[in-house]
């Protein structure tokens, strides 16, 4: 069913999607294949290295980055279902190899071919989805995707094709939700204060669904909404686009 003429894509699943919400990974595979790509998931991958990078441990980050470079060298593109991890590879790996000419060219090649999944589908594949979702959603733009990669119009354009879905604007859509990777672990009270601002704004939209492009942020907002007793469906955009948002949303009760 795959089209062999299409781009050869290595899928980078991200550690949070891998361990918490595989549905996002499978939805991505489905859409990428539907868009005409040949997709493979190299098993030598773990994490992009952000926890070490953001903690200032550059040596460990470099070791992980080398592993990622090797695992994804054979592919034409690397596609990632997270703006933050895509940006780590695309915009930040360079800092690690600035003094390492042997690896620098390999790193540059990797960075140049790495894409966040929603922008890959639109900007590279010119893909039009066909999906149905009944509801009113609001959209949160996660920081790295928005600011490092310019992912803003792409998800909205894709969602415009989903039947039954209306998207309402979110005040402060471009403001951080307070996840920040290790930040939410190191400064839980601060992180809570920031996500509380966010959920207040989300609730004010009256939408029944919250969408975004980064599982870390979605997990943070969904977890807070759930604790506040707010019944809200929370999905990664790709799940809706792939028609795979029929199960429970993030933090929602399981269906029996």
């Amino acid at each position: 069913m795959t089209n062999n003429d299409g781009p050869h894509v290595g899928f980078f699943v991200t550690c949070i999607v891998d361990s918490m919400r595989p549905n996002i990974g499978f939805a991505s595979l489905k859409l990428l294949e539907d868009a005409g790509c040949t997709v493979e998931v190299p098993t030598a991958q773990t994490c992009c290295g952000q926890p070490a990078f953001n903690s200032g441990d550059d040596a460990t980050t470099k070791a992980i980055a080398k592993q990622v470079i090797e695992a994804f060298e054979p592919f034409g593109y690397v596609v990632v279902p997270s703006g933050s991890c895509a940006s780590m590879i695309r915009s930040h790996y360079g800092e690690l190899f600035a003094d390492d000419p042997a690896w620098q060219s390999r790193q540059k090649a990797l960075s140049a071919k790495t894409w966040e999944v929603l922008s890959f589908l639109t900007d590279v594949m010119k893909y039009t989805p066909s999906a149905t979702y009944q509801g009113t959603a609001t959209y949160h733009d996660s920081c790295s995707g928005l600011r490092d990669l310019g992912v803003h119009d792409q998800p909205r354009a894709l969602l415009a094709h989903v039947q039954g879905l209306s998207v309402v604007p979110l005040e402060g859509n471009n403001e951080c939700c307070g996840f920040g990777g290790t930040f939410c672990v190191k400064y839980p009270e601060l992180s809570t204060a920031v996500v509380t601002d966010k959920t207040t704004k989300i609730k004010a939209t009256q939408a029944d669904t919250l969408l975004g492009g980064d599982m870390g942020c979605l997990m943070n907002m969904a977890g807070k909404l759930s604790r506040e007793g707010r019944e809200m469906r929370v999905f990664h955009t790709i799940e809706v686009l792939a028609d795979m948002a029929d199960g429970p949303g993030i933090c929602a009760p399981r269906l029996k």
Partner: protein, 468 residues
């Protein structure tokens, strides 16, 4: 002010427990964000101006020694006396010596963060001089005996209701408590008489202009002019990085500053000072002293923190920072708060006493986005973390968890085993409810947030199964 960055977490807890603070911060940051967005949208050459500003600053920093010498020469030719202060102590000494030599009793001061940085209040009290803050917000915090909490709006932490209460206690004629203009009038009545009778005026400068030896102040209240004109002696304390080569270059920054700071196209008062009173001038100070302060700026020149010296102190980074908006400026426990302060404080007073500052940031990048001179604040904060890591300033717990994670992350097979175990354990904890409300070792998260129940089996497990 007393630096309390070393007890950042206590400061944060105190700030979060203060409900009025959040009201004050929300009101002002929301207003400033909206207004800034509007004037930037209406400034078609914004991107170009920002790029030009960055280039001018980088060029000036590349040749800072040259421009400083040029400035000194021209300022002296204009009749000013130029002093060099390597440290805040030096600066305080110079200021108090001048006050003593003038036998000064009172000084009016127009807000300047550099004055705060070098401890001007201390210098004046050492010289036995009574200090009168003339900026409205500085007047408020002087009455309240508070340190400033913002570099442009020092009283950002106070609501107007709190200000009304304060004036009712401290002003002779406090005005109508419900009416903001009436409160402003009240402050004006308090301050006006003091302007005319001061012996010394103390100001900062927004820009130094090398080829004319002049300097610039930019305010909305006109208090700079009122402060610096009547007294016999005017002392300017200013950081050496405020230099620009010429008037034409200063204009580029003036167009950016008020837009970024308070979301207006221009401020009410922009004054260029070109030396003391000359023969035939009706007013102005007889003595003009310019104190050029280093305080680690030249160390930053040769460091990855160099771009920080582009800063024009507009405060946009703090107005758009989610952490600042949650806790306000006092939590940072230093003269400069918010994103720029989290870079400057470690640079000026050392990483040891401020180790939380570079870490207490989500690296969301909004500060860099709104900075009119494009300072890569998140990158510098991260580099400071790397510097901390290299010098072993990381807590044993953090180091340990990082080591464990690194051990797994560099061994894919072990890693996939580990994630599948974690996935299974989390499902046990969730007991089919879709969410987990308490996770051992993740108490920080689950105290206020649920954790989602993971799906059955990691992506890798399921993917492998499908492939088989």
């Amino acid at each position: 002010m007393k630096q309390t960055s070393h007890q950042f977490n206590e400061n944060v807890a105190r700030a979060l427990a203060e409900p009025t603070l959040k009201v004050a911060l929300d009101r002002t940051t929301t207003l400033l964000r909206t207004r800034r967005a509007k004037v930037i949208d209406a400034f078609p050459q914004y991107a170009k101006a920002r790029e030009t500003a960055q280039k001018i600053k980088d060029h000036t920093l590349d040749h800072l020694g040259h421009y400083l010498r040029q400035f000194e020469e021209n300022a002296k030719a204009n009749g000013a006396q130029v002093h060099w202060a390597a440290t805040p102590e030096d600066a305080r000494q110079i200021v108090s010596d001048i006050c003593r030599a003038q036998n000064a009793k009172t000084a009016t001061r127009v807000k300047s963060m550099l004055g705060e940085e070098i401890g001007i209040a201390q210098a004046l009290s050492d010289a036995g001089v009574e200090r009168v803050e003339t900026d409205l917000a500085e007047h408020i915090i002087q009455l309240a005996d508070d340190p400033p909490s913002h570099i442009v709006m020092p009283a950002m932490h106070k609501t107007h209701e709190q200000v009304a209460e304060l004036f009712a206690q401290k002003h002779k004629d406090p005005g109508d408590q419900q009416d903001i203009p009436s409160l402003v009038e009240s402050a004006r009545r308090e301050l006006r008489p003091k302007f005319m009778n001061a012996d010394i005026s103390i100001s900062g400068a927004n820009f130094l202009i090398a080829d004319t030896g002049s300097f610039v102040t930019i305010t909305n209240e006109g208090n700079a002019e009122l402060t610096t004109t009547p007294p016999k002696t005017h002392i300017v304390t200013v950081g050496i990085e405020k230099m620009v080569p010429s008037l034409k270059h200063a204009a580029v920054f003036i167009r950016l500053l008020s837009r970024a700071a308070i979301g207006t196209e221009i401020t009410q008062y922009t004054t260029f000072y070109n030396g003391p009173k000359r023969d035939g001038d009706r007013d102005g100070p007889e003595n003009l002293h310019i104190v050029l302060v280093d305080n680690h700026r030249s160390d930053m020149l040769s460091d990855f923190l160099r771009p920080m010296l582009r800063c024009i102190r507009c405060g946009a980074c703090m107005n758009h920072c989610p952490v600042y908006a949650a806790v306000g400026g006092h939590a940072y426990g230093a003269v400069y708060p918010g994103p720029m302060g989290s870079v400057l404080t470690p640079a000026m007073t050392g990483l040891k006493g401020s180790k939380d500052l570079p870490n207490a940031c989500t690296l969301n990048g909004r500060c860099k986005e709104v900075c009119p001179v494009n300072i890569p604040l998140p990158d510098m904060l991260r580099s400071l973390r790397a510097r901390q890591f290299e010098s072993g300033m990381v807590t044993p717990k953090a180091r340990w968890s990082l080591k464990l994670w690194a051990m797994l992350a560099t061994r894919p097979a072990l890693y996939h085993f580990g994630t599948s175990v974690a996935n299974m354990m989390l499902r046990v904890l969730a007991r089919g409810r879709g969410k987990i409300s308490a996770v051992p070792l993740a108490g920080g998260w689950t105290r206020t947030r649920d954790l989602p129940q993971p799906e059955a089996g990691t992506f890798m497990q399921q993917y492998r199964k499908q492939k088989r």
